[in-house]
């Protein structure tokens, strides 16, 4: 049996994750996202398009390197210093 990687960090930020999926990955239907998953593990969109969507919604610049980090870290990074940060435990 192939195991599922842990998603404990993702489970800590369900609202932020939902928001990210709704506004950035709106053309994807992720069912399970583990802590080691990057945006490339849940999206088939191009880097340019993802950066455009993220920058447009979160009003923050992001780089290709940012996209390479685990998704839960990226989502937290995008919400740092914002009103949404209070949702981060």
């Amino acid at each position: 049996m192939i195991p599922f990687s842990s998603d404990l960090e993702m489970q800590k930020i369900p609202e932020l994750t939902q928001e990210f999926f709704e506004h950035v990955l709106y053309d994807e239907e992720p069912l399970f996202t583990s802590d080691e998953a990057t945006i490339w593990d849940v999206s088939m969109t191009t880097a340019e398009e993802l950066i455009r969507r993220i920058s447009q919604y979160y009003k923050k610049p992001v780089s290709v390197a940012d996209l390479a980090q685990p998704l839960w870290k990226l989502i937290r990074q995008l919400n740092e210093g914002s009103d949404r940060s209070e949702s981060i435990s």
Binding site: I2, E36, W40
Partner: protein
């Protein structure tokens, strides 16, 4: 685990059917658009993440599609599944199988040792990824 038993039995047949469909007629775009491929799998030494046989959230979400953990494994191991190496993502492997009329994607590490993510994809996303060189058939 016992609670998943009936679901497993109910859907094993469905998987057999969908496997045939995929193997013969399904996933056509992915097969036809595959460029000349010389797979270059980059094996990453990914940091070891805690592994669980199955995490509750994964079970819940997969079961929304009528997929059990056992069936997710069956998809990965099925020769009928389309397996695409993701060159944009360190050689992670996207395993694609049609289930209930939807294309299910299960992404594993390059060695196929653990499930990193799962979701639903559209055929055009796969064909586009193959066309632009991001995905190559394994």
């Amino acid at each position: 685990m016992a609670a998943r038993g009936p679901a497993v039995k109910k859907l094993v047949g469905a998987f057999a059917v969908t496997a045939v469909v995929i193997g013969t007629a399904g996933g056509a775009g992915a097969y036809f658009l595959a460029p000349i491929m010389a797979p270059t799998v980059t094996t990453l030494s990914l940091s070891a993440a805690p592994l669980l046989p199955a995490v509750p959230s994964a079970i819940d979400k997969l079961q929304q599609l009528g997929i059990s953990v056992e069936q997710a494994n069956a998809i990965i191991q099925s020769p009928a599944s389309q397996k695409l190496i993701d060159n944009a993502n360190g050689g992670n492997i996207n395993v694609i199988q049609e289930v209930g009329g939807k294309l299910v994607r299960i992404t594993t590490d390059p060695a196929g040792q653990r499930i990193i993510s799962a979701g639903i994809v559209r055929a055009n996303q796969i064909t586009n990824g193959i066309a632009n060189g991001r995905f190559v058939k394994k």
